[in-house]
Symmetry: C2
């Protein structure tokens, strides 16, 4: 695939979506889509500075340094921005082999089919042991 | 990868996010993430029934049958749902080779790097010719 460089920089448009932009995390090695979460501007800037995925937790209303509890951090290999500058795509190395709090490698472990769901993959950790009460 | 089937069906939780759930479209052949858009329940049901991606346009506030103007429809190969049932992942055959209104194959054609953006790929169509005024 061809690529061209441009010294113009492009920033996400945090004026949209109440300052919380959707972010897709994709496994840099396999291409599997791992999860979707949100970033505010602070999370975005910390992600770029540290090369570790930092999201904003809508339920907890604070920065969510992915893997801070489970150890399953995401090393950010590349950051892409979409045409409208309101969605981001991260290519990551998923440490620990799982992005999902359920223990499955990807949050998208269930396929919806006409005859029921198909579960893809197997749990790589037991959530009850990883997330201590 | 192992997979197991379950006759239990799972539906997206349209009670969340004001009934508009984010949907990631991924090229079924290459694994490239093509775009992100939204579905309401009507768009979701039509997508499953027709095997063509139908979104809900937030700007136009109506169903958006992807490709109805450009011809670049998305044939839906598989539908995945995330752990929280509030995000969907479609694996699609992107007819025409482009998902993006800019003419690039993917909406995520720009990589953000410390020295500027890198544009990946080349336009497969000219938007001014495809989207007639």
């Amino acid at each position: 695939m061809s690529s061209t460089t441009d010294t113009v920089n492009v920033r996400p448009d945090f004026a949209k979506c109440d300052g919380l932009l959707p972010v897709i995390a994709q496994d840099a090695a396999t291409g599997d889509v791992l999860m979707m979460a949100y970033m505010n501007e602070e999370a975005y800037d910390e992600t770029l500075a540290t090369h570790r995925a930092v999201y904003f937790s809508r339920s907890r209303q604070k920065l969510w340094r992915k893997g801070e509890e489970s150890g399953n951090v995401q090393e950010v290999v590349a950051v892409y921005i979409d045409c409208d500058r309101d969605t981001l795509l991260l290519k990551v190395n998923q440490i620990g082999g799982s992005a999902c709090h359920t223990g499955y490698p990807s949050c998208f472990y269930r396929e919806i089919t006409p005859t029921g769901i198909v579960v893809h993959g197997t749990k790589v950790f037991d959530p009850e042991k990883v997330y201590k009460k």
